[in-house]
Each structure stands twice: as structure tokens, then as C-alpha cells.
């Protein structure tokens, strides 16, 4: 394990899961984990185990739904997909996240420090 990988914070993981499902459609847990890792350019290390409680939470909240199916290489797997509520939640969270990062960016960029 390379030491400079950042751990995924709780909360952002949910957003990444939702975004992943939006981009790729129905996907199993392992696929989601791999996708998040790849998208982050291997900068993030997902402890795959933490993914499952997060998936469960999203399902309990009604943002994703699950169904058993068969994977590309013929393995039985549980597939998750975005629900309507999940789509809305994704838009909302993405918006909030952009706002947050925009604000933080202003604070952090040295030239525009407010007086």
C-alpha cells in the first residue's frame, strides 16, 4: 500500500457512489469500489468494506435500489441502481459540494484575499 493515498471521508463516499451509479447505470458493489478508485486516479484508497454499510444506508434512505443479477463474468451479484429520489439527491449534493469548494477556493487563492 502506498502511503500517500487519502482515505475517503464518510459523506463524500455517498456522493461518489451516487455519481458512479449515474454515470454507469446498475452496478455491483465491487464494480462501484473499483470505479471510484479508478476515477480518483488511484489517489483514493477505498476500504471496500466501508462501501457496504454506505450502500445499505443509501438504500434505506431510498436513494438507490438493489436487485440480484449476474455479472459480466457470470457471477451472481447484487446490482445497485439510482432511484428518482437518488437522482435529485445527487443534484442537490453535487450543487452543495461545488458551492463549498468554490468558497474554500476563494479563501485559499492568495491573490483575492478579502480585506
Amino acid at each position: 500500500m502506498t502511503g500517500d493515498k487519502t482515505d475517503v471521508w464518510q459523506g463524500t463516499l455517498a456522493l461518489m457512489v451516487l455519481k458512479t451509479l449515474e454515470a454507469l447505470g446498475a452496478l455491483h458493489g465491487y464494480g462501484i469500489a473499483r470505479r471510484i478508485e479508478q476515477t480518483s486516479g488511484d489517489l483514493l484508497s477505498v476500504n471496500y468494506g466501508t462501501l457496504y454499510p454506505a450502500l445499505l444506508k443509501l438504500e434505506q434512505e431510498g436513494y438507490i435500489a438493489s436487485e440480484w443479477g449476474v455479472s459480466d463474468n457470470n457471477r451472481k451479484a447484487k446490482f445497485y441502481k439510482l432511484t428518482r429520489a437518488g437522482r435529485k439527491q445527487l443534484e442537490k449534493e453535487a450543487r452543495e459540494w461545488e458551492q463549498t469548494t468554490a468558497i474554500l477556493a476563494r479563501f485559499l487563492s492568495p491573490g483575492e484575499e478579502p480585506r
Binding site: N47, P53, K78, Q89
Partner: protein, 891 residues
Amino acid sequence: MSALRAWFVRLGGLFGKEQQDRKLAEELESHVQMHIDDNLRAGMGPEEARRDALIKLGGIEQTKETYRDRRGLPWLESLLQDVRFGLRMLRKNPGFTAVAILTLALGIGANAAIYSVIDGALLNPIPFPHPDRIVDIHARWPQFQKAMLSYPNFLDIQRENATFESIAVWRTESFTRTGLGDPERLQGKMVSANFFSLLGIRPLLGRTFRAEEDQLGAAPVVLIGEGLWKRRFGADPEISGKSITLDGKDYTVIGVVPSDVHLLRFRGSFFDDVFLPVGQWDNGLLRDRRNSLGLRTVGRIKNGVTFLQAQAEMDRFGKSLAAAYPGVNDGLSVWIEPLKDDLVGNIRPSLLMLWGAVGFVLLIACANVANLLLARSSGRTQEFAIRAALGAGRARIVRQLLVESILLVLAGGAVGVGLASWGTRGLLSILPSALPAVARVGINWRVLLFALGVSAVAGILFGMVPALRFSKTNLQEALRESGRGNTGAHHRIQGALVAAEFGLALVLLIAAGLLIRSLEKVWAVNPGFDPENLLTFSVSFSPGIMSSPERTHAALHGVVDSVAAIPGVQAASVDLGVLPFEGDSETVFWPDEKPKPARTNELPLTLTYFVGADYFQTMRIPLLRGRAFTPADDLTASPVLVVDEDLANSIFPGEDPIGKRLHFGTGPSQEIVGVVGHVRQWGLGTDPKGAVHYQTYWSFKQLAGPLLPILASTTYVVVRSARSPASLVDPIRRGIHAIDGNAPLYDVRTMREIMAASLAERRFSMVLLGVFAAIALLLAAIGIYGVVSYLAAQRTHEIGIRMALGARPGDVLRMVLSQGGRMALVGIAVGLAASLALTRLMVTMLFGVSATDPVTFAGVVVFLLGVVLLACWIPARRATRVDPMVALRYE
């Protein structure tokens, strides 16, 4: 929203755990397999591929654990675990559980029972809509605080007021119903047309009165009560339009009034059977502004008008009516009182006292259960210590203890509510007359809520004790002492609880003792006549007989003669107007020597008894001076009068009253020919405030004019017999039916029964407080017995050593007894101090004993010490039988 949804899903997650676990295992398995496949494809060896997959997953078991926490509600799961464990613990100790639940059931049940009475009688006594706006409207005269308005005064106020939605009047009256079976005496009301709409009562059938029916000369109509409708008419749905005969007159039934609405019944009165419009009453006195004829006025204040505004308007009415009718309304003022206050006024202090008493009982019950739990929890110290050592947090163990307490108190509360519903029903059947008759007492949701609240308080009270105590124990010590971890602090808590129980029980016992002594004293009061073997009954003659004074007099004579002729009867007399403890007929008077005063309203009042020649002999009221009546005191003779000693002494101080004359409003003055002893008209206790005290006796044979049929419509007869009066009823009934076949005979009671009924309220408080004090005593005795036994058992080892070293059984006995005695003595000392402060609050309920009556106080203390001795004696005896060898080897 989504958080709520998640919560429900998680609640659902508590069920079907095994299948869910299996699904998760499958999902993780497929995850790992897919990972391994990828790794193999990337060129790893099978072993390495598998290892890498598991590492990246972060441990299957750990994942499952966090997943499970997320799936259900972990705190709820552990709570359910606690509940299951608690139930198991309670089942394992059935003796402990039963005693604790029963103790709590007594405490909570007593509270729920009293609260249900308070709820029905004090808090929600009026079953009508918006009861807070319904008020009684009273007149006030200079010499009379609470008087009634006359009909003309009522009509004026009704017509002109602006603050009331409506104002109605009612008066009780009884009627003789004839035709259709035996004649019967019916209780009824004469009401103004708006009476029912004011109270919000709808008829079951038909309609209520119209304004035009509430007039002289209108067609005679009647509403009948549900009771009569079912009893006499078989709940005939076609009753409207049929006719019934009351006092010889035919009335058309226009509707049926429900009886589940207790229509302003008052203590001891019956359900109303008939309702007539008061405006049809052709009694001339009704329309005379000087008479109130027992009219009660109720009003419903307009929405948005305050009580004070309504009172201010009544003040104005008082002044204007007084000014408009000088000589009649002089000094009149009008005041209003919430109907509720009027209904519950007398019973309130008793009920509040009883409420306090059951609070004490509950505290004692809690102390007892706390002690039980303490004793048990010290036996469990080791269990807790081991659980703590295995990683249970203190909070978790305290929660476990609280859960057990809550289970106990819930079970106790459930049993208690059962006891309460049974107990209230019993109470009401024994002592119904002590409560305002409108009270609807029963277990309703308010009572259940109250019981739940009480249980919660109780659970916290006794549950906290062992929980707090546990949180202070040193676990290492507890483990090392292997279960005998008893510290001095522990004994002190138990001792303090026992002391508190005895303090509380002492207060209750003293209060009950004071009430018992009061009742004893009241019962011993001389009523002014001899109540033994004295029978009274009422009779109402039919209208034909009362059509002329001669026929009425003849019938009254006939009744007395026929009763007096029955073997075993020593004397008999009629009594019109007032019977001791019953009825009320009064008038103003002034001595002949003084000029007639201008303002009759400031004159003294006297009760008027219209009696036969043998009345004093029958009642055994002592004749102090002069003579009693003779048969010669009739309409042809000059009017004579017998007065009571109080009137004689106050009006003619230091003079001989015989030969003096008294004036009564109209008519000639009457000569006093005799003075008799004073009779306690208003009950055996002290006279109520404003009650008329003076008493005058008139010869009924000198009575004629409009008053005679009114008075004779309820004729009391008093009968003195040598033997038990019960056997006289049948011959009396036969004799009266020979005189008037349509005359009902009713209210047959002995004087002793009437006197006992007059004390119903006192007895109600006394019986209940006595019961609560007994429960308190029982619980306290069980409490001290339990603690002393427990402590003695804990000291078995020590006692064994002492005995091995030469202590005699007497020493051991003394040691154990003194340990219990010390606790009780501290409690008794505190209880005495509390009693001295608290019994002062019940002064109004006492009679003939002071609130600090030394006899009661001393008696109760001695009694309580006896109980303590007995309760401690048993464990003390057991301790003396300890075999030193066994005790020492046991450890």
C-alpha cells in the same frame, strides 16, 4: 423524510436477521470472487490474489459488524436484550417479583382510584358542554349569604340581562303518579323552557318545552326521564302524545330526557323521573316576589364575557331590583358562582386530603420496592462486577437496572389499575351519597394517563436507588469480596428508607385516628331527641283529600290514629315542613313587644315544624317549661307556639318566655305556651354557616289557607315503637291505604339511618383514610421485617462468632431488635413532627378532637411500636437460633 424512512427500514431490520445475514455473506462472497478473478487476470498467483482481495475488503467479519449496526437500530436491539434479560431475572425470582409488583399495585392502584374520584368529582364534575361558563345565580340578603331568587326577580333578570346567553330556573318537586299500576311517588323538576338547551341536553325522543308552554294556562305537558320511560313504559318509542296522571292531573308526554346525564342531582337525591314547565305552576306564591319556593337559577355566560363582567351586571341588577321593590327586595344583591364550585364545595377538602394520603402510600410502596431491589442488587454485585470486567459500561449496567425497575413498575401499574377499577366500583357502591351526584367516576383515559405518570415517577424513585448505589461501588472490591460487598452506606440507605416508611405511615395513622375519634364524638352527640326505635316515613295524599282544610286535617288525624293503634307503637305524630336532618321550612319573626320593623329582611329566621299533639312525646324532645300541644289547640282556639330553648334564651334573656307572643309576617301573633330542648336540625356536627338556628313548633291543627296543601303534600310521620321498627311497615301501609288508596308511602327510614346518612361524607373520608393507613402500615411492617431479616442474615457469620464467644440468645435478640427499633424510632420521631404540622390542615374535618389530640398521637405511637416489635421479633428469634458451628463453617 429520507431519515424517517431509513429509521423505519431499520426498525424493520430488527426482524429476519438470519436471512439478511446470509444475503450479506453472499454479496461479500461474490465481491471477493470478482476481485480474485480480476487479480488473477492481472497476473497474481491464486494465493496472493485471494489475500489481496481480503485485505482490500478490510476484513469480512468487521464489514459484517458495521453492516449489521447500520442495518438495525443497535441501541434498540440492546434495549430489547435488556428487557429480555430483565424478564428472565424477574421470572427467576418469582417471590421477589410478586411482592414487588403487589406492593406497587397497591400504591399505584390507590392513587388511580382516588384520582378517578377526583377526576369525576372535582375536575370534571359537569357533564355539559362548556361547563366553565355555567354559573349558579344566587340572591344575598343581609342575614343570608346564599339565598334563592324569587320567580319574578328571575324573570326580570332573564329579560333584561346582556351578559348571559340564557338564564334558567329549576326546582325539585315530587309528584304522585296514579293510574297504570300502584300509585308511586316520583321525583321531578319544574324547569323553565330554556333549561335543557342551556345545559346542552338533547331529548332522547320528542322535544323539550317551548316558551309558550312555560306559561300559566298552557296545555299540560311533561317530559319523562329515561328511567321512568324504561321502567313503566317498556321504552315505548311511541310514548310522545300519551298521557300520564300526576297529582290527579293528566299531562301529555312530549319527550324523553336521557338519564345518563345526571341532571343536577344533588347528594342523596334520586334520578328525576318527570319534568314540568315551571311557568304552568298555578301556585300563587310563585309569582309573589317575596318567595323563592326553592327555585335555583343557573345561567350560561355569553362567549367572550368574563365572569367579572357578568358579576358586575348582577351587582347592578341587585341594586335596581332593591330600589324598584322597596319593602320586598330591600338589601338584595345578586351574585354568581361557578356551578362546579357549588357542586363540589363540601367534598373538596376530603378528597384533597385523601389524595395526599395515597401519595404517602405510594411513597411507602416505592421505599419498600427500593429496599427489595437494594437487597437483591447487593446479592448481584458480583454479577455486575463480572459484566463490567467483561467490558460492559457502567451506563449499560445502570440501564439494565432501570429496565428491570421499569418492567416491575409497568406490571405493578397494570395490576394497580385493575385493582383501582374494582376498588372504585366497590367504593361507589358503599358510599355513593358522599359524592356530588353528578360525578361520573370510573377509569377513563385521563385516569390511565395519570396512573402511567405515577408509575413513571415511582419507577424513577425506586429504580434510581440501586442504580445510583451501584455506580458508586468499587468493582475490584466487589469482585474480591465475592458477593458479600456490603458497606455501611448500604445499611444507611436501607435504614433511612425504613425510617421514611414509618414516618409516612405514622402521619396516615394519626390522621385516620383523628377522623375515627371525630366520627365517634359526632356519633355520640345528643341530637336533641331520642333516635332509637324511631321510624319515619312520608306520605302524600291525593288531590281530592287536600281540596279542603277539613278533609286534610281529617286525613292527617286518620294516619296518626291508624299508626298509633298498631301493636308495639308507643306514640306517633305527623310533622309538616321540617323533619330533623331533612327539609327546610322557615320564616322571619319578631316579638310582639317590639314594633314591626320596616325592613323584614333584617329580621331573625326560625325553622317551622307543624306537628301533632304527641310530637314531643314521640321524639322524646324534653319539655323544659310550660306545656306541649293538646288536641284542643285547633282552629277554634287562639294560636299557640312552642319554641326551642335557644330562641327563648336569646330573644327573651332573663325573662319567662311563657305567655310572650311572636309575630310571623302576616296573621295574628301567637302565644308561646312551652319551651323544648334544641334539636340539631342540620346534622350532628357543627351547624353550617348561615343555617337557621331558632326553632318554633306550631300545632298543625291551627294551620289553614294556601300553606296547608303545600306542607301536607309531603307529610312526615314519626313513629316511636317498643320493638324494631322494621316490622311496622306493612301494617302502616295497610292503615294508610284504608284512608287514601292513592296515597304513596315512601322514604321509610329509621332515624338512625337518616343520621348515619348525614355522616356519609365523614365516613367516606374516614373509611378511605383508614384503609390507606392500614395499607401503609402493612407495607411499612413488611418493609422493616424484610430489612431486619436481610440484615440479620447478612450478619449470620458475625452472630455465629459472637455466640461462639459466649453471647446469649437474649443478647442476640436485643441486638437485632435494637437495629430495627432504631430505624423505626427515627421514622416515628420524624413522623410525629410531620404530623404536628400536617394535621393542622384537617382541622375543618375534625369534630370534638384537636388536631394535636394527645390521646390519638400517643395511641398511634404505642400501636406502631407494637407493630415494629412484632415485625422485628420474627427475624430476631431466627437469629438467636443460629448454630455457631454452622454459621462459621458456612463461610
